[in-house]
């Protein structure tokens, strides 16, 4: 660049500028001066020449008038010796030259007359006239002697004046240049010292960085430099003072930091939480190496103790520039938890925004542990108290319940005794009556009547005996005193032998009795005597109530699906369960009201493995419903849909042996778990199980629909005189049901009035 050629040192710059200015100004001045002088010389020459011309004009009048041209010539020759006059001519008024003198080139001494016959052109006006040319000028002066008689013309050379001027310019220029150089050199020399001073000052201020407090010897050479030096010295001193202060601060800080590091766990993080500094104590506590922590995010030290929200809250608090105090749980490298008393101080930039966070912590785990122990002790004490209370409560509840059960049992017992006594009295009445009649009127009665009455006594005795046996059987099963000889029994064989016993009586009545076996390997773990009792009972019932047609005993394998009853007034809920449960291969019954549910559950022919019920329903309070259900289905697993129910309701539900609770909205996983838990509890319901199914189908009178659910009740007989006439204790089916349920099977009946009934039971197959 152009300024590169410019010297960079200030003294040189000044000298150069000075030199430049002079070099430009001196010639201008010189030329101007020379021109001035030249004009002066010219003016002088013109004036003098004019005077000469006038003199010639005056002196030549006489010669012209007298026509003495040689005198004229002499006059001219005298005058022509003047320097710089080249030629003098005298002409008459018409321009005819009268005399002409020229100066030769040899010099003004050598003047010669020139004889020329030509006319010169004279000015038109009779007055003084000057015509300037490049190298000379012509001056015309009129010759007047009363009238105009001629002209004097002097040719004056300007060359010598010009030469003189040029010479002068040359000299001046030379002198000016020399002067410029000298002045510049002088300036250079003169500025050297102050420049050195400035340089010193510059060097000094450059040194202030590390040599503050140093003083410059003040130069008094110039006021400015003196002032500069004084100012610099002052700056140096204040800098030194500041430096000392900073050093002290730093030292103090270091001491404090040391103290902090010695005492606390210190960590510095940037705003993103990246660790910039971790002191030894932190490393010691966390078991991390420095390189494992530095540059890493501080979340490495977070455990799972706090929620993310907790950390967010802390970050929010400190990002406003406020300090944060509190307790934080940290995890070390080996996932041990430490309770840390923590203070987080944000370092703020000039805008008040944090750019670093200093975290100062102390490990209070031991203290916490003590507190924890104390708390644990307290809690365990509380728990113990609560447990005790609960125990007392539950014991009270148990006692109350036992009491209730006992009184209920008592009621049942007395009711049973009452019914039994009634049932026993009926055959006894017949026996007593006819025995007395025979005793009193034996002779009056014909033999047929006698025989008829005797056979009544006999059959009623048998009935009484059976009744007593049945009652005893039922009592034994109820009391758990029955001995069950469970073994693998081939039901096909057992059925065949049982049928054999009835073949005679069926044949006599004109009924066909069939055995239909659809599958092989029908072995179950049962008490063969008891199952035989069931088969006998069913076959004799079929015999009793069938007048014509056939009775078929059928054995086969079936796949039994568990059946779940869902009760909810919310239809979407029902649909959801239906789809979900059917998808799992479970039979689903659903109803939208508590009363309908009770009806379904009371139907002894519908076996329900699980009840899922909402506990908020329009027609009956859920708690009432479950309470009611428990009166007749004590062991039925119940899952309560517990949405929007308060704790006291749920707690009261627990009194009714609720298996589990489900919350709305339902989660498939939760339902699956609950089902597995509840249905898996009872072996015979788990999943789709192969079962042995035995049924007795008759073509008898059938059972009215309203009686179907009662046929298994004790002492219940379908209400009409016809059945009464068939005899029976009314306990047979109750006993059968007890026996089958003891084998973890189910017994139910389906029937069409006038077409026949079908009693069916399932038993788990032998594994």
């Amino acid at each position: 660049m152009w300024y590169r050629i410019f010297p960079r040192r200030l003294d040189r710059q000044v000298a150069l500028v000075c030199f430049g200015i002079m070099i430009f100004t001196i010639p201008l001045y010189v030329v101007h001066e020379a021109q001035e002088e030249l004009s002066f010389i010219f003016d002088t020459a013109k004036r003098e020449t004019k005077v000469i011309a006038n003199n010639i004009a005056i002196n030549s009048i006489e010669h012209i008038i007298t026509r003495n041209y040689s005198s004229l010539e002499n006059l001219l020759l005298q005058i022509a010796g003047f320097p710089d006059i080249i030629e003098i001519q005298v002409a008459n008024e018409f321009g005819k030259i009268l005399s002409d003198v020229v100066t030769t080139k040899k010099g003004s001494e050598d003047v010669q007359p020139r004889y020329s016959l030509i006319n010169i052109k004279v000015p038109e006006k009779n007055s003084y006239k000057l015509i300037e040319y490049d190298e000379y000028m012509d001056i015309w002066a009129p010759i007047e002697a009363g009238k105009h008689i001629g002209w004097v013309k002097i040719k004056y050379s300007l060359l010598s004046a010009k030469n003189h001027r040029n010479e002068k310019i040359k000299n001046y220029l030379f002198d000016g240049t020399i002067l410029s150089v000298f002045i510049s050199l002088f300036l250079l020399l003169a500025m050297r010292h102050p420049l050195r001073m400035i340089k010193n000052a510059v060097d000094f201020s450059a040194r202030l960085d590390n040599k503050s407090g140093e003083q410059l010897p003040v130069s008094h050479q110039s006021i400015e430099i003196e002032k500069l030096f004084i100012a610099l010295n002052k700056t140096s001193l204040s800098l030194a003072a500041q430096e000392a202060m900073i050093k002290k601060d730093i030292k103090d800080l270091e001491t404090q930091k040391h103290a902090l590091d010695e005492h606390s766990i210190v960590m510095i993080t940037d705003t993103d939480g990246n660790i910039k500094y971790a002191n030894d104590k932190l490393l010691e506590m966390t078991h991390y190496k420095p390189e494992e922590l530095l540059g890493k995010n501080s979340s490495i030290l977070r455990g799972r103790y706090h929620t993310n929200k907790f950390y967010q809250d802390v970050k929010e608090a400190v990002s406003t520039g406020e300090s944060w105090h509190g307790e934080i749980v940290c995890e070390d490298k080996y996932k041990n938890r430490h309770w840390m008393q923590t203070t987080i101080v944000p370092f703020l930039d000039e805008n008040g925004c944090p750019y670093e966070y200093v975290t100062i912590q102390s490990d209070i785990s031991a203290q916490k542990e003590t507190e924890g122990l104390l708390e644990v002790n307290n809690t365990s004490l509380e728990l113990l108290t609560k447990e005790l209370e609960d125990k007392v409560e539950s014991r009270t509840y148990e006692l109350r319940k036992a009491n209730e059960e006992l009184s209920e049992l008592n009621n049942i017992k007395s009711e049973f005794v009452s019914i039994v006594s009634h049932e026993l009295r009926t055959p006894l009445t017949s026996i007593k009556s006819f025995a007395e009649i025979l005793e009193d009127d034996f002779d009056e009665l014909d033999s047929d009547t006698r025989n008829k009455y005797l056979s009544i006594i006999n059959s009623e005795s048998v009935r009484l005996g059976n009744l007593i046996n049945d009652v005893l059987d039922l009592q034994k099963i109820d009391a758990g005193k029955t001995t069950w000889n469970i073994e693998a029994v081939d039901l096909k064989k057992l059925s065949a032998t049982t049928i054999e016993l009835f073949s005679r009586s069926y044949m006599d009545k004109g009924l066909s009795l069939n055995l239909k076996v659809s599958d092989d390997d029908l072995v179950a773990d049962v008490d063969s005597d008891k199952i035989k009792q069931v088969l006998t009972n069913l076959l004799s019932n079929a015999y009793k109530f069938t007048e014509q047609g056939s009775v078929t005993l059928e054995l086969k394998r079936v796949v039994q699906k568990p059946t779940v009853l869902v009760v909810d007034d919310d239809e979407t809920c029902l649909v959801y369960f239906e789809m979900f449960l059917q998808g799992k291969g479970i039979n689903v019954l659903s109803c939208d009201g508590a009363k309908k549910a009770i009806k379904i559950l009371k139907n002894k022919n519908t076996h329900i493995d699980l009840l899922i019920t909402d506990i908020v329903m329009p027609d009956m309070d859920g708690v009432e419903l479950i309470k009611h259900i428990r009166q007749f289905a004590k062991k039925l697993p119940i899952v309560a849909i517990s949405s929007n129910s308060n704790a006291s309701v749920l707690k009261s539900l627990l009194d009714y042996n609720i298996s589990s609770f489900l919350d709305k909205p339902f989660q498939a996983e939760m339902i699956s778990k609950t089902l597995n838990k509840v249905l898996g509890d009872t072996k015979h319901m788990s999943g789709n199980q192969q079962m042995l199914q035995i049924s007795v189908q008759d073509s008898g009178i059938g059972i009215p629909e309203n009686e179907l659910s009662n046929v298994f009740d004790r002492f219940h007989q379908v209400d009409n005189s016809e059945t009464r006439e068939k005899g029976g204790s009314g306990l047979g089916l109750a006993i059968c049901k007890d026996i089958i349920e003891h084998h973890k099977g189910t017994l139910w009946v389906t029937s069409v009035v006038g077409k026949g009934s079908r009693f069916t039971f399932n038993l788990p197959l032998h594994n």
Partner: protein, 126 residues
């Protein structure tokens, strides 16, 4: 069958053998008789032709003896009709219950036919 009477006894019991024993007693004392084995039929039969005495078993299908008796008492023409209730429930409460529903007399099963005959005669003013 010492004397013949035109008084009618309605015998109601679901047990045929017991019906037979009552019938025997009625016939022996010379009374007319009708037999039914169902509570509702018993009431309807009584309404159709009011008998002089109704022997009612308690445990009967459709209507119990107590219920039949109660209904009979609400019938304007049978407020005073003699009703003998037979029950196998021999408790005092059962007797009280029988009188509460308006029974004229009460007998517990098992009964003696001699006792029954005496009761029939007593009730029918023989």
């Amino acid at each position: 069958m010492n004397t013949h009477s035109n008084k009618t006894i309605l015998i109601c019991d679901d047990e045929p053998n017991i019906r037979e024993s009552i019938r025997y007693a009625a016939v022996k004392e010379g009374y007319q008789y009708k037999m039914v084995g169902d509570g509702l039929v018993a009431y309807e039969t009584a309404c159709a032709d009011i008998p002089d005495l109704i022997v009612l078993d308690v445990g009967m299908p459709n209507l119990t003896g107590y219920e039949v008796c109660k209904k009979l008492r609400q019938h304007p023409e049978m407020e005073q009709t003699k009703v003998l209730i037979l029950t196998a429930f021999g408790q005092t409460e059962d007797k009280i219950k029988a009188f509460n529903v308006g029974a004229t007399d009460f007998m517990t099963k098992p009964f003696s036919p001699r006792e029954l005959r005496a009761k029939l005669n007593e009730l029918l003013d023989k």
